[in-house]
Chain length 299, copies 2
Amino acid sequence: MSKQGLIGAVEAGGTKFVLALATQDGEILARTRMPTQTPVETWPAMQAFFEQAAAEHGPIAAFGVASFGPIDIDPASAAYGTFTTTPKPGWSGARFHDVLAGFDAPIKVDTDVNGAAIGEWMAGAGQGCRTVAYTTIGTGIGTGVVRDGRSLMGISHFESGHIMPPRDAARDPFAGICPYHGDCLEGLACGPAIERRWGTSLDKLGPTETGIVADYIAHLASTLVLLHMPDRLIFGGGVMKAPGLVEMVRKATAAKLNGYVQHPRLDEGLEGYIVTPGLGDDAGITGAIELGRQALAAR
Amino acid sequence: MSKQGLIGAVEAGGTKFVLALATQDGEILARTRMPTQTPVETWPAMQAFFEQAAAEHGPIAAFGVASFGPIDIDPASAAYGTFTTTPKPGWSGARFHDVLAGFDAPIKVDTDVNGAAIGEWMAGAGQGCRTVAYTTIGTGIGTGVVRDGRSLMGISHFESGHIMPPRDAARDPFAGICPYHGDCLEGLACGPAIERRWGTSLDKLGPTETGIVADYIAHLASTLVLLHMPDRLIFGGGVMKAPGLVEMVRKATAAKLNGYVQHPRLDEGLEGYIVTPGLGDDAGITGAIELGRQALAAR
């Protein structure tokens, strides 16, 4: 494939940026990572990387950005690509276009979790699906829903971490840590909630604690089924690495749905329906490349 | 406007069919209603209406159907437009195309609630919105989510009635009536659940009962916000006619979200955000006309 129409891809995380220059069929020609500082440091470093990569490999035809937030991801908005009210020092009001517009190429910006969802849809555990819901259970909880390769949104990106699961106080009396909702899903099942409640991470705890967390995650899984009807649910993030968790999530989700949704996709035991990611750490940058491709196609 | 390109519209309900012949800009030229019997009676009556209307006003260029279910609404499916496992005698396996294909016009089939959502988006309380969630709280509970005039779906239409709300057994010990889930939203808050629990309909009960039901509906409202981020939520159906209910749903939804979602659409008190339908009984047939228009545009 010609090097014409190269894609600049940005995976912007809270702790690190991954930058890549790739061909349209996904071959990565140059790649780097750098710590997330403030825009004063990060913007010039990002600009320098893409300028050098373009000088070496050819002009950049489009950019795809999968970023931490909160960030405006509505292409129709005047503030598209701008960080909104993030507590991260220096980032509120910063805009990807401030740096990337100089390359005179279309830019598509989405959230990090939507980017990972798009990456998994394209090259990971969501291949062959029309609708994929990718959820990360880590420092926070978020879900990206992708339909035919495009992330869904309304007036904003989704906020699945804040749905309210039914509680059984006898089983789990913990009040939750969400500053807005206390015992919403994120308040009960994200990594920091687990640490606060039991003093360590879930992979060091037993089946009782894992079962409690699995039940909350299964509440999200069953709710996603009923409100999005995905072909497949992917659950990633640090918490999901706890031994036995995904199996317990499958079992609890099946119990909650109780046979109501009948479809060949929901196989016996949900082993093919509720899965872990296929790309690991590469989901974000893979999704960012696809976002760049979409920016190019839309031009 | 010319009468060329007329739309045949079908609102197929569990108790009645409404049929209309309309121009593409929505002027209704002929209209009838008939009781829902079995396809043996209903199909020939439907065919006769459209044949006569076409003879009088001109050929039908496309059909739009908003129907009770369960029904296959996936245009890519071989069984598109076919009733699946409905307990309604005679309807399992019946297909709209069996009758309408004779007119040699494209056919778009969607669910009744999606049809009403599309109607409200086009000409009712959802005008000017990009994403609208329309929920009916009646004999059952269902939600249609419309984005830019098209209903969203995954491997099937959504099933919002079966999400599980948190319970307070001290406030409401009722076990629920859903044969699959017991105390899912529909099991607790649909019309028959209210009748079973309190012996009458919600409009004849007091603020205590209305508050209990409002809290369950607000669980759906807040979950829809977090998982679809609509511009507006519309709640219709018989139960929603209970005095004070929509006001209580607004208040309970605001309490659940607790300021987490900041957007101008979510106005103070949610008066412009959570609303009742604008079209009343005409939402379904209005949506069916729009579905016909979409069938025509896709051809």
